[in-house]
Structure formats: structure tokens, C-alpha cells
């Protein structure tokens, strides 16, 4: 069974809501698991009880080629998961005047590589991301009877609004979805801003060889620093008249 659950239709979902239903599908075993009613209330969907197998196997080893890096492990996300990640990534990191959207710079592939990596930390993240994607869909089904991707922008944003803010939604049932979102956001922004386009966006200007002495801070950077220094009651820094 894939992580996606297209078989849950709107009517089923409505029925669950109406009856405060106590059943969810266990994706791994394909069986119905009974849960207490208070764990599946009107507040939100229950965190999917998936039994995911950790990806193990060799990584790149202790002596990989540093000059021409390669990723040896296979990618594992399904097309549905990647489509959903594409939308979520762009909701998290949309195109704006500073730079393109996350998906535009290949963030989804980076996340696929990440959650497919045979390392403990990445597999811990996989245990959040895969059920998290399923939760997002189930929550969309619960709210509107449609998958997340089939939901309206407003409906999609409403779901993210419930899990994207540290000071909102303290309910126990949102603990895991919020952890998932926090991890996903970190991966999306990390992958975006470390991409060539993202580095340009954030203004990283290093990694270029410079001949002669290090040029030091620019006039503009020093002027800004001086306002900070003055506000703290410190003597401003003299600004060199000529800078290379």
C-alpha cells in the first residue's frame, strides 16, 4: 500500500467526522485499528500509525570522492509523495522578488535524497516526513473531502496555519503534525538557500578567490555597524576613506 490514500472518499471522510469515528487505516498492515474517540476528535486527524521500515545499507563510506561527489543510495519517494512535497515546498518557500520557489531549484529531489539516505538521523526524519505527508492528506480529506492537492489554496493554507506556528495549536493531537512541519520547513529552506539560486538570494558572496590582503567589511557594512555600536553606547569604528 502506498502512503497515498486516494480510496478514502469524501463521504467516508464525512461519515468519520460525523460519528467521531474511531477507526483509521493502518497503512502498513492494511488493517483497521481501533482508537479511542478522544484521540480522533473534531480537532484534527490522528497521526497516521505507519510501520515504516528504516532504510539501511551502505552510505558513501568513510573515504568518498570529495572532488566529484556522488550519492550512491536510491531515491525512494513515490510520485504522489513528490507531487505533494512540491506543493508544500512552494507554500513554505514561494517565489518572491528575492528568488524563485523552492521546487524551482530542485528542493524536492534534495528531500527525496535526504529521507532515502541510510543514516540514522535522516531515517528519523523519514519517520516524520512520510507519515506527515499522509497526515496532510487525511486532514484535507477530513476538512473538505478532497486530497490536499485537490483542495483550494485557502483550504491548503488553513491546514498549514494549524501546524506552522509555534504559539498556535497546543493540542496534543497536533504535536506530531507540528513536529513534521517544523522539520519539513527546515529542510525546504535549508535546501533552497544552499542551492546556487538560494545562495544568491540570501546574499552569500564568498567562495571566490581574492588576490592580496583580505578586503574587510565594505563601507556600507561598517556604516550599519556604527549605528548598532552607537545604539549600544560604544564608540563607532573609523571608516576608511578608500576601499578596494
Amino acid at each position: 500500500m502506498t502512503a497515498f490514500r486516494k480510496d478514502i472518499d469524501r463521504r467516508t471522510s464525512m461519515k468519520w467526522m460525523a460519528s467521531m469515528a474511531a477507526t483509521v487505516l493502518s497503512a502498513s498492515a492494511g488493517t483497521y485499528e481501533t482508537l479511542a474517540a478522544d484521540a480522533y476528535g473534531e480537532e484534527s486527524s490522528t497521526w497516521p500509525a505507519l510501520t515504516l521500515k528504516r532504510i539501511t545499507g551502505p552510505g558513501y563510506g568513510t573515504d568518498p570522492d570529495l572532488v566529484s561527489p556522488k550519492t550512491p543510495w536510491p531515491l525512494t519517494l513515490s510520485t504522489e509523495e513528490k507531487l505533494l512535497l512540491t506543493r508544500l515546498s512552494d507554500l513554505i518557500c514561494p517565489e518572491d522578488s528575492g528568488g524563485p520557489s523552492a521546487s524551482h531549484v530542485g528542493v524536492v529531489s534534495v528531500i527525496d535524497e535526504w529521507v532515502s539516505a541510510p543514516y540514522r538521523s535522516q531515517q528519523n526524519d523519514r519517520m516524520l516526513v512520510i507519515p506527515g505527508l499522509q497526515w496532510v492528506n487525511e486532514e484535507a480529506q477530513r476538512r473538505s473531502g478532497r486530497s490536499f492537492l485537490d483542495s483550494s489554496n485557502k483550504q491548503q493554507e488553513a491546514i498549514l496555519d494549524a501546524i506552522a506556528y509555534a504559539d498556535k495549536g497546543f493540542g496534543e493531537e497536533l504535536k506530531m503534525p507540528k513536529r513534521f512541519f517544523s522539520k519539513l520547513r527546515q529542510l525546504v529552506f535549508g535546501a533552497y538557500f544552499s542551492s546556487p539560486e538560494g545562495m544568491k538570494d540570501i546574499g552569500y558572496m564568498g567562495n571566490v578567490p581574492i588576490e592580496g590582503p583580505w578586503p574587510g567589511p565594505t563601507r556600507e557594512a561598517l556604516e550599519h555597524l556604527n549605528t548598532v555600536l552607537e545604539n549600544l553606547g560604544y564608540k563607532p569604528e573609523p571608516i576608511p576613506l578608500v576601499q578596494e
Partner: protein
């Protein structure tokens, strides 16, 4: 004179890092012929260093994992906190971390290149405060060797005129880079607290020395190694310089396990495991210099048991493996809101600290004002570094606002790494594990470790002052409140392990004399951090090298005089 495949040699040097590299360089320059044995594989920094590769090109955006503990691009080969098939063990209740590298040049290929000298106080700690032991040498005796070493390897820095930071002779050091914006703010804040902030001395060349290496071009992290030779490592300097004399032969994948002795008790051979074939190879050794790292030296000596030396070689004092020290370590971090969205410029610099905070409490300690005996320094981080997978951490929400928040926060975080001195104590040592062997069949080390109250109190002082400095910078502290015991890092974690074969004036309480010559075996020397008597907060590598140069020079004189 012994011979291997037509190469005749006077001395076997075990190890090719800071100590072994300098020993081999010095001996060959003195006209002696050296066979160097390195446990790791051959390594060519010119071909193998990723100089401009970005995180985006590396698996997992270059982030660290069990295969590459310091990230994908870190130079360390076949090593890190664990070496597959080559374990170490720990006594119950001990947490100790041992960093190893299995490559030519060892850990000099990726180290931080911080080269503060030990000061006059540091060689006479017992005289100063009653703890530990004094060194058998003083600052004046080693000063010319520091000068020669600094000049040879290429060091940038200046003379700040601060207590216990000795002035370097004019003309020895190269100019160090100006501070970055955050480092200027750090200096102003610390001045308001009456704490010094000075330029960091680093083994990074900033001017051409005409020896084939190039000066720093202010890009790519030194931890990757340096293909242009600006950031010092033995594989771009001491080893090729020594090879150029025609008197050095290097054998890699040669993991030494025993030093053999003859009837008179002199060293006369070594056995190494050829890591390619797994087979033992025994070589004649007219004289032996051990420099495979403090802990590995202890391991070889303790494993080299014989009828004459039942407790291990050069161990009549029982001190081999004892007095193990590391630097104390702890971190404090913060965020400076006023620095959010600050104007961008290229802040790579030499990719290390341009400024740092040296220990400022010597006089207070002399007056008995502090409740711990030894000092620490703060290394400082806060710059526009290359974005990585963690760059988006710590923002709330999503969408354009969150994206802008990541941009704003970039370059506004600061971090302090405390690195302090520990006093040797009887609970910190290594010995041979009686049961566990590595995949080569060599008995492994078992570590014992317990921080003493003096180190915990020192760290508590550091946590308090780190927070004070962050606040004086207009920042907010982001690291959690911790006790000293919670904050102090594990033994070995700072990778400054020293002291296992300490030098001294008394054969009963030390393993070598002040020349690194073992008391028990005339033709056996130790030239790594094992000979340290104390472990000042100043990073250890430059002193390992200065001592190796000094002691290898003395050794060669003895050989030439025919007494060795």
C-alpha cells in the same frame, strides 16, 4: 644504518602528522635518513581537496553523519570518532571520544590551524598554583623553537601585548586579516567588560614565502584541507620538504604495533601491520621516534611487552597512559537582533576566527579571586558562512514572510566555543583492554575519564561570561541554561588529547626526559603530544611541532656525536 628496498635509514619515525612530520623534516635537514611509517593511506591534497565545491554538490548538502563526522568535505579519511574495525573501549561511567584519521599527514589535514603559543605561566603551572606538575623546560628555552616553527610553517598574527601571550620575534609572523563586522562588535562589547579581544594566530600563510605554497586566497574552509598549501598541513609542506632532501622514505598503510628491543634493552626493530595485506612486517630500527598521537604512542608502548619490560616499553615509572588530558569544551550561543538584515559582503576571510577572546583571569587567579585554577579562551563564530541544510532552522510560519525571516536572520547568530585547561588527575588515563583486539589483532585502548570539580567550575565561569558578552553585544542568549556538569563536553571531544608519556626531570614520575628521549630506552623518543606535562587552554599543535623540532635537533646532534 638499516635498509628497506635499497633505502638506507638511520631513524624510523612512526606517524606523519604534526609531531612525525616535524621530526622527519628536522632529522632529514640535519642530514639523517628517515623511514616514516604511517598507518593510513597515501593522500595527495593537491588532487583530493574539494576547494570550491559547494554544499549543493555534496550528498545531504554536505551535512555530517556517521561516515563523515565533520561533514562530507572534511578532509579526514577513514576516520572520525570511530574507525571501522579499530575500536577503543571505555570503563563504566566513562565518556571519552577519540578522533583518528587514517591518512598521510594525519589530523594536520583538517585541524583548525589555531597556533597560540604556550606562555611563561603555562610551563610552570605547579609553581604558580600548586596543581599538576611543572614542565622540565621554561618558555625561554622553547622560544627560539617557536620562532623557527612559526616561520617555517607560515603563521599570521600579531603581538597584542596581553598577559601570557608572548611576543613573537619581529619578522616571524605574517599579517593577519582585519576583523569582520561581528568581530568588531565583539571587541567593543568585551572592552566594555574589560576583557581582551585579539587577533588569532593561525597557521595560514597570507604572503608568499617562495617555498612552492601559495598565500591564502580567502575562500574555502580550511577543514577540507588546502590544495594551495596556504593552510598548514604536513602533506603540503614538511613531508614534501623532507622528501626533497632525498633522505625521506614514506611507507603508508603501515600500522605499527610493536617496538622490539635487543639484549641490552635498546630498540632495534618495529613490527607493523600492512593494512593492504593484513600481514605483519618486521623492520630493523636503529632508532625510533614515536609520533602517532599521544594515545597511540601509549598503546604501542604498553603493547610492546617483553621479559625485560613486562609492564610495557619505557614504562618503569608506570606513567605510560597516565596523565591523559584534553581541553575542556562548552558552547554558548546567541542572536543579535540589531544585526538582522545587515549589509552583505564577503566574510569568508581565512574561514577561521580573525579575532578571539584569550583568557583574561591570570591575575585574578594569582590573587585567589577565582574558584578554579586554570584558564580558557573563547573561539567565536558569527559570519555570513556558506548556507547549508540548517540555514532555515528557527523561523516560524511559512510563505513569503518566513522566507524573508530566514534572509533577515542570516549572519545575525553568534556562538562561543570555550576551550580550557584541565589539570591532570588520576581518574583520566588509558590502558590496554585485556579482552578487546582490533581487526588487526592488536589489543585496543581502554579509556578512563572523570572531569574534576575544577574543570566544572571553570566551565560554569565560562557559561556566565559567555552570556555576559552576548548581552553586551546587544544579543539574546539562545543556548539553554545548563550547569557546568551538563555543559562540559566529553573527554577527547576537543581532540587535544595529550600527556600519556609526559616529560620530566625525574624518571620515577615521567616517561621521557626534556628532550623527549625515554628514560628507559636511549634510542627511543616520543615527539607527539604524549610528552606534554600540562594542557594549557592554548591549542596544542604548535607546541607539539616546536618540541618535535627542538628534540629532533637534539637527537640528531647525539647521533652525529656517536652517543646514540
Amino acid at each position: 644504518m638499516a635498509e628497506l628496498n635499497g633505502f638506507e635509514y638511520d631513524v624510523v619515525v612512526v606517524g606523519s602528522g604534526a609531531g612525525g612530520g616535524m621530526a622527519a623534516y628536522t632529522l632529514t635537514k640535519e642530514g639523517l635518513r628517515v623511514l616514516m611509517l604511517e598507518a593510513g593511506r597515501d593522500y595527495d591534497p593537491i588532487e583530493e581537496t574539494p576547494m570550491f565545491q559547494t554544499n549543493a554538490e555534496a550528498p545531504l548538502r554536505g551535512t555530517s553523519n556517521k561516515d563523515k563526522n565533520f561533514g562530507y568535505y572534511d578532509a579526514t579519511v577513514d576516520g572520525g570518532w570511530q574507525v571501522p574495525g579499530e575500536p577503543y573501549t571505555m570503563a563504566e561511567g566513562t565518556k571519552f571520544m577519540l578522533w583518528r584519521a587514517r591518512m598521510l599527514g594525519g589530523r594536520t589535514n583538517h585541524w583548525g590551524r589555531l597556533v597560540p603559543r604556550f606562555g611563561p605561566y603555562d610551563f610552570k603551572p605547579k609553581t604558580r598554583d600548586g596543581y599538576g606538575e611543572d614542565w622540565p623546560i621554561d618558555y625561554d628555552e622553547i622560544e627560539p623553537w617557536y620562532d623557527k616553527t612559526d616561520h617555517l610553517i607560515g603563521v599570521c598574527g600579531d603581538n597584542p601585548g596581553v598577559d601570557n601571550i608572548p611576543d613573537v620575534t619581529e619578522g616571524v609572523m605574517q599579517p593577519a586579516p582585519e576583523p569582520r563586522v561581528m568581530e568588531i562588535l565583539l571587541k567593543k562589547a568585551c572592552e566594555s567588560l574589560d576583557i581582551p579581544v585579539v587577533k588569532m594566530r593561525r597557521a595560514v600563510m597570507t604572503e608568499d614565502k617562495g617555498d612552492g605554497r601559495s598565500p591564502c586566497f580567502w575562500a574555502t574552509n580550511c577543514g577540507r584541507g588546502c590544495s594551495i598549501g596556504a593552510a598548514f598541513q604536513t602533506t603540503t609542506s614538511l613531508i614534501p620538504f623532507a622528501k626533497a632532501t632525498g633522505r625521506l622514505k614514506v611507507v603508508t598503510d603501515a600500522m605499527v604495533k610493536w617496538v622490539h628491543t635487543g639484549e641490552a634493552g635498546q630498540a632495534n626493530a618495529v613490527t607493523y601491520v600492512d593494512r593492504q595485506t593484513g600481514k605483519d612486517v618486521k623492520l630493523k630500527a636503529p632508532r625510533v621516534v614515536l609520533a602517532p598521537s599521544a594515545t597511540e604512542t601509549a598503546r604501542i608502548l604498553l603493547n610492546s611487552k617483553s621479559k625485560k619490560y613486562p609492564n610495557g616499553l619505557a614504562n618503569s615509572s608506570g606513567q605510560v597512559g597516565r596523565n591523559l588530558m584534553d581541553s575542556t569544551g562548552a558552547g554558548v550561543s546567541g542572536h543579535v537582533p540589531a544585526m538582522q538584515g545587515r549589509p552583505r559582503y564577503n566574510e569568508d576571510g581565512h574561514t577561521g576566527n580573525h579575532y578571539y577572546v584569550p583568557w583574561w583571569g591570570y591575575q585574578d587567579q594569582a590573587k585567589g579571586k577565582l574558584n578554579f585554577p586554570r584558564g580558557y579562551h573563547f573561539e567565536f563564530g558569527g559570519r555570513f558562512s556558506e548556507p547549508n541544510i540548517w540555514t532555515g532552522g528557527g523561523v516560524d510560519g511559512y510563505g513569503k514572510k518566513a522566507k524573508q525571516a530566514v534572509r533577515d536572520k542570516y549572519g545575525s547568530s553568534i556562538g562561543f566555543s570555550l576551550r580550557g585547561e584541565m589539570v591532570p588527575n588520576e581518574n583520566c588515563y588509558c590502558e590496554i583492554d585485556s579482552e578487546v583486539k582490533d581487526k588487526w589483532g592488536i589489543p585496543v585502548l581502554k579509556f578512563h575519564w572523570k572531569w574534576a570539580e575544577s574543570e566544572i567550575k571553570q566551565v560554569e565561569h565560562g557559561l556566565k561570561w559567555g552570556e555576559k558578552i552576548i548581552k553586551a553585544m546587544g544579543g539574546v542568549v539562545t543556548s539553554p541554561k545548563r550547569t557546568g556538569e551538563e555543559a562540559i563536553l566529553a573527554g577527547g571531544q576537543i581532540i587535544h588529547e595529550v600527556g600519556t608519556t609526559r616529560m620530566g626531570d625525574d624518571p620515577k614520575t615521567s616517561v621521557t626526559n626534556k628532550h623527549g628521549q625515554t628514560w628507559d630506552v636511549d634510542n627511543l623518543f616520543v615527539m607527539d603530544g604524549g610528552v606534554f606535562v600540562s594542557s594549557p587552554h592554548q591549542n596544542c599543535t604548535i607546541t607539539i611541532m616546536a618540541l618535535a623540532m627542538k628534540n629532533a635537533t637534539w637527537m640528531s646532534k647525539q647521533i652525529k656525536r656517536g652517543v646514540l
